[in-house]
Amino acid sequence: MIATRRRGTLLMDILLEAKELTKRFGAFTAVDGISLQVKKGEVLGFLGPNGAGKSTTMKMLTGFLAPSSGSAIVCGETVTTGNVAARARIGYLPEGAPLYGDMTSRGFLAFVAAAHAIPAAEIPDVVESAAGAVHLQDVMEQRVETLSKGFKRRVGLAAAILHAPDVLILDEPTDGLDPNQKFEVRRLIEAMSVDRAIIISTHILEEVDALCHRAVIINRGHIVADGTPSELRARSRYRNAVTMLVPGENAERVASALKRIGGVAKIEAASEGNKVRLTVVPVGNADIAEAIGDIAAVSNWQVSQFSVDPGRLDDVFRQATEGDGLNGNNHNRGGEA
């Protein structure tokens, strides 16, 4: 409904915008000129190694820290440490989901609701529906400090969403959760993303695939890559690499045959039981699958699994954030410019 009302004004759909955000702590520049936009309905993954400036950026977006220069705008309001109106539009889950341990889940959520100036009469309903969304019903009367990590995280999430904010900023929402809890939280974020703009920071790459429409990789306070997960993956050295499983006794014969094919950069081998997984990396991401397939068909290699790699996010992540002078790194920088 909102979309139709706002049709024609495309700019209105940008709910969160950072313009050249910079944060210096003394001589150290933690965040150096980060600009990004998040549209309604979009989940942006904010990636980077520890200490890259993810949390600092998020603290500036939520008005906890004042930027040294640049600005952040949420739904038309400039975020400052004093602008209460901008903060009211944001739901924020700080890193580690800090909570008041001595309160019950219900008490804590009611406090957050009151702080958002929700009328007292509506607070019980608001708390109940936020708690329902994250399945907290069974622990509402328990003190927060007695809850398991997964439940604590859910209490934090409920507190971030209860005032139905337009922008959700979640700092490592699944950090420290077990795989089932991670799945649960991801499903929740997905469900909430429909008419919101969401930023999640993470260093878990599977999360980006599972959740994000777009990913931004930052390193040392700079954006080093920005694109959809498949666009990023396409930058990987492993794009179009061919992976196959062959019996151990054939491995060497196969490898030497593969080396003779033109356009093969290198072959990686990893043993799996009595079989060997061979990964053939092409030069310049060239399509070598067909050539290899042809040879495999005529030679008796007994290939049991054969797949073409779409590219690997972890590889792109490493290229983008590790050292300088790597080919991939330059490639990414070029892509940015």
Binding site: P94, P98, M103, F111
Partner: protein
């Protein structure tokens, strides 16, 4: 105003979330009793007033008020809820005031529980209840001034013990500046206005005035000014500690 109340309610309730509050109240009442009956010699004086009760309060508060105030901000900073609190749509000023008022209310509860001593003195004789009322007012004002100092210093550290020691130290300076041992240092050489100014800085001077049953506006105003000053300092400390997390 509404957001001050929101912060106040949470903070006040959190005092009673652990047994520490009750332990504190018991210690306060026992200490207050000891000072009044043994050191202050309430019965031996054979006078229907609460002088023995109020005289030692500045010293009792010197340790008990920083104990109430030490957790106000240090705990938030240690547990990380500092960030949560400052990203809620509540002005920082409202948070500072709300937390301070919660501490004052807790001190007020402690003071209310000394009611039996007032009943006793009325039962035994016919005291001037007007004097007692201004005494209680002065007591609460002084407690609030200690709490404002404690609150500001609590924001300087993540460690409650450090916050406590800092607050006791600063409160002690405010307390003793009216005592002869401090004033004697100045009387020999400094001009009278300077000596008077130092004496006027003291909580003791103003508290004693209020105890005599004279509500001198300037004494009440003195405490209110000290409170306002330290709340303002507290706010500045909090703003500067955002950077440190």
């Amino acid at each position: 105003m509404k957001s001050v109340m929101t912060i106040f309610r949470r903070e006040f309730a959190s005092y009673f979330a652990t047994p520490v509050a009750y332990v504190f109240l018991v210690i306060f009442l026992v200490m207050q009793g000891l000072f009044t009956f043994y050191i202050g010699q309430f019965y031996q004086r054979e006078q229907a007033d609460l002088v023995a009760f109020f005289t030692y309060q500045p010293w009792l508060y010197l340790f008990l008020m920083p104990a109430i105030a030490m957790r106000l901000w240090a705990e938030e900073r240690k547990s990380g809820t500092f960030e949560l609190l400052l990203t809620l749509p509540v002005p920082v000023g409202a948070i500072v005031v709300g937390k301070f008022l919660a501490a004052v209310a807790f001190a007020g509860v402690a003071l209310l529980l000394t009611g039996p001593i007032w009943i006793t003195v009325n039962w035994l004789g016919a005291p001037d209840n007007g004097v007692i009322a201004t005494g209680y007012l002065g007591s609460l004002l002084m407690a609030s001034a200690y709490l404002a100092i404690g609150s500001a210093l609590s924001a300087t550290t993540k460690n409650q013990v450090v916050a406590f020691i800092l607050a006791v130290t600063v409160c002690f300076l405010f307390l003793v500046s009216g005592l002869p041992m401090v004033l004697d240092v100045f009387t020999g050489w400094a001009p009278d206005p300077v000596v008077e100014a130092v004496a006027n800085l003291s909580f003791l001077t103003h508290f004693n005035n209020l105890q005599k049953g004279v509500v001198v506006l300037s004494d009440a105003f003195y405490f209110l000014a000290v409170i306002a000053l330290w709340l303002w300092i507290g706010r500045i400390v909090i703003e500067s500690k955002r950077e440190a997390g």
